[in-house]
């Protein structure tokens, strides 16, 4: 408010014979113009992709910018079609329905286990005194610094030693805990007043009961936020499955299946199929995003505060 008032004084002081509100209006118009332009730049690629995924292949090639089916050279109109989706789901090159299943199976299982393991570990670091706590904490801090790409070959090395290459184990177990999530949970548990646990302790509850019956229900918002991030990270992960899967294409997740289809088709990319595949891959995340918007936005603010 105060800043706005000062701006107006500034305009007034220059002595132009403008109506008193001109500065404000100009500013508002400019603001909205810039924001709408950027919002369009952010949204339009998705709009073009979704719309074209429902068009016929020659129509996509000839009229990518049309948001409705175009017209053939001979004057007959193209029509809306589900051909891209049919071809994606039935292509011989990759088992796409299986990839959909794999993506859901892996993302859901990893999310559940990560929420459990991270919150257990976060609670231990926040509240329980035990020998080696300092070491455990230091080990976790150390891993926060490691860039993902540096882990590419090391991960492959361990997975191949375990004989897990081309198995579900390699796509699941390594992701059941992550240092960042443990820190988030630790911070959250530290914010819960100690008195609550002290009261439970007087009632004779053990740590286990205290955690599962009293503490965990209080942590539902934090757990939801972590679950969303775990699901998003696993759903979108590309490098993990890329390293873990060598010959077994039946275990491909959606991102891997898409990248594979782009690779095998070389320059002759079947865009109806690829766009349909992109939409299928994005849809579940989009639904989760619109339901849990608040958690996403707050989660970002949280990472910001952390730095």
């Amino acid at each position: 408010m105060s800043t706005g008032a000062i701006a107006q004084q500034g305009f007034g002081a220059r002595g132009f014979a403008l109506p008193p509100n001109t500065g404000k209006i100009v500013r508002a118009v400019l603001t909205y113009a810039v924001l709408i332009l950027f919002a369009l730049a952010m949204i339009m690629p998705f709009v073009f992709a979704v719309v074209n995924s429902f068009k016929e292949l020659p129509d996509i090639a000839a009229n990518p910018m049309r948001l409705t089916p175009g017209v053939r050279a001979d004057g007959t109109p193209y029509s809306w079609t589900l051909q891209g989706y049919e071809r994606a789901l039935t292509t011989q090159q990759i088992n796409f329905p299986r990839a959909i299943f794999n993506s859901f199976f892996i993302a859901i299982l990893v999310t559940i286990m990560r929420v459990l393991f991270n919150s257990l570990a976060g609670y231990a670091l926040a509240r329980i005194r035990f020998p080696g706590r300092g070491f455990a904490f230091a080990a976790l801090v150390g891993t926060l610094m490691v860039p993902g790409i540096v882990l590419l070959i090391p991960r492959y090395l361990v997975l191949s030693q375990l004989g897990w290459i081309d198995t579900y184990w390699a796509l699941l177990i390594p992701y059941f805990a992550d240092a960042f999530g443990i820190f988030l949970m630790k911070q959250f548990f530290e914010s819960i007043p100690r008195e609550i646990e002290e009261a439970a302790e007087i009632d004779g509850a053990s740590r286990f009961r205290m955690f599962f019956v009293i503490i965990l229900p209080m942590a539902v918002p934090a757990l939801t936020a972590m679950a969303i991030f775990a699901f998003q990270g696993t759903w979108n992960d590309f490098q993990g499955p890329l390293i873990a899967l060598n010959l077994n294409r039946d275990l491909y997740t959606l991102p891997l299946a898409l990248a594979f289809l782009r690779g095998v088709t070389g320059d002759a990319i079947q865009w109806d199929l690829m766009l349909a595949g992109s939409v299928i891959t994005t849809l579940p995340m989009a639904v989760i995003f619109f339901i849990f918007q608040r958690f996403f936005i707050e989660g970002v603010s949280y990472t910001g505060v952390k730095g």
């Binding site: 810039v34 919002a39 393991f117 070959i153 090391p154 286990f208 782009r262 992109s278």
Partner: protein
């Protein structure tokens, strides 16, 4: 589990002291997560570090690989007299550097400006703008790369839009082959002034520094790399805008009110309150931007696989390619070199941003 433990303590038989129970609980709580992190981050890193001193091909059991001492590292920097690995490494350094130099400042400044705009008091539909700006960052990198590959098609939407605007302004536009154009954008710019590889002075085209001539070093990112850079900026700006926005809203209003009571101008308020208060966030955004850029991989994999003419080979890409080409030992060494580069830049950046804080 939740029931068994207390009954153990309460029902006689044998009793654990409260302290022992507490310890047991601590171990049980931390162990699952700790085992996973040790087994899949700590041990791998350690063994990969050892592997980087061998000629492991990624297929044989690592114990059968022969130790080669520092040979992998020597090859990367050309200290063993060979140039093949070194030249590719420095091409990747150049490409990654141009990529980072283009992406990090652009996305940070854009995010900051957008955050200021969205933070204005009068703005309505703020929720809508937030969602619109954030959506790209929840989408799979592979999907975004696929969509951009399509948009940047020669007959695609991007050329269509540019062509439309050019047409409107009465200009000629020859569609750019975005995905297959190895020309550096600085070279393209210099060509406007008649400076090409042929007309450039000899000291530029004939002096070889680490496998490339000076003329090649100053190429700038290729047109294809530029498309990938635009993709990166498009994806990350929204997230960073939200981070800045959160920081802006965390600045106590009283600070501004007190300042304006004291007669501080708007510019003074910006300089003396907003800028210092945003500094930790700016450091955070710059650092994650830098770390992200140095690791660019998924987009390269889908869009160009290092092509055209090696102009989109990045360090992360050659790490992966060495693993794929049965040179895992060399790849591991490259990964550690990248690790060190990232660490150095992060520390340097912290120093730099920290310095300006004190002024």
């Amino acid at each position: 589990m939740a029931v068994a433990a207390p009954s153990l303590g309460n029902q006689g038989g044998f009793r654990l002291s409260a302290k022992a129970q507490e310890r047991l609980a601590g171990f049980t709580f931390i162990l699952p997560a700790l085992i996973i992190i040790i087994a899949f981050i700590f041990l791998p890193l350690l063994s990969a570090f050892l592997i980087s001193f061998t000629n492991w091909n990624g297929l044989q059991p690592p114990t059968e690989a022969a130790g080669v001492g520092l040979a992998n590292y020597a090859r990367i920097f050309g200290l063993d007299g060979t140039t093949v690995v070194r030249d590719e490494f420095f091409v990747a350094i150049k490409n990654t550097f141009y990529y980072t130099l283009g992406v990090v400042p652009t996305q940070t400044i854009l995010a900051l400006v957008l955050a200021f705009i969205v933070n204005q008091q009068f703005l309505r539909f703020r929720g809508f703008f937030r969602v619109a700006f954030y959506f790209p960052s929840i989408t799979s990198s592979i999907v975004i790369a696929t969509i951009f590959l399509w948009l940047f098609n020669r007959n695609g939407v991007i050329n269509g839009v540019i062509g439309g605007v050019a047409n409107f302004l009465g200009l000629q536009y020859t569609p750019v082959t975005w995905i297959n154009d190895a020309n550096g954008i600085i070279h393209n710019f210099l060509r406007l002034f008649g400076l090409t590889a042929r007309t450039a002075p000899a000291w530029m085209t004939e002096t070889n520094v680490l496998g490339q001539t000076i003329w090649q070093w100053i190429s700038g990112p290729s047109v294809t790399m530029l498309a990938i850079m635009l993709l990166a900026i498009w994806t990350t700006t929204g997230t960073m805008m939200l981070i800045f926005l959160a920081a802006l809203q965390d600045i106590p209003r009283q600070l501004y009110e007190a300042a304006s009571v004291d007669g501080a101008t708007r510019w003074q308020q910006f300089r003396l309150i907003t800028v210092p208060m945003l500094r930790p966030t700016t450091f955070f955004v710059l650092t994650i931007g830098l770390i992200g850029c140095f690791q660019v991989f998924d987009q390269i994999y889908v869009i160009s696989q290092g092509n055209p003419a090696g102009t989109t080979k990045t360090i992360a890409w050659i790490v992966f390619r060495n693993l794929r080409d049965s040179q895992a030992g060399l790849g591991a060494a490259l990964a550690f070199v990248l690790f060190v580069i990232i660490a150095i830049f992060t520390i340097f950046q912290r120093r730099l941003v920290g310095k300006t804080v004190q002024q």
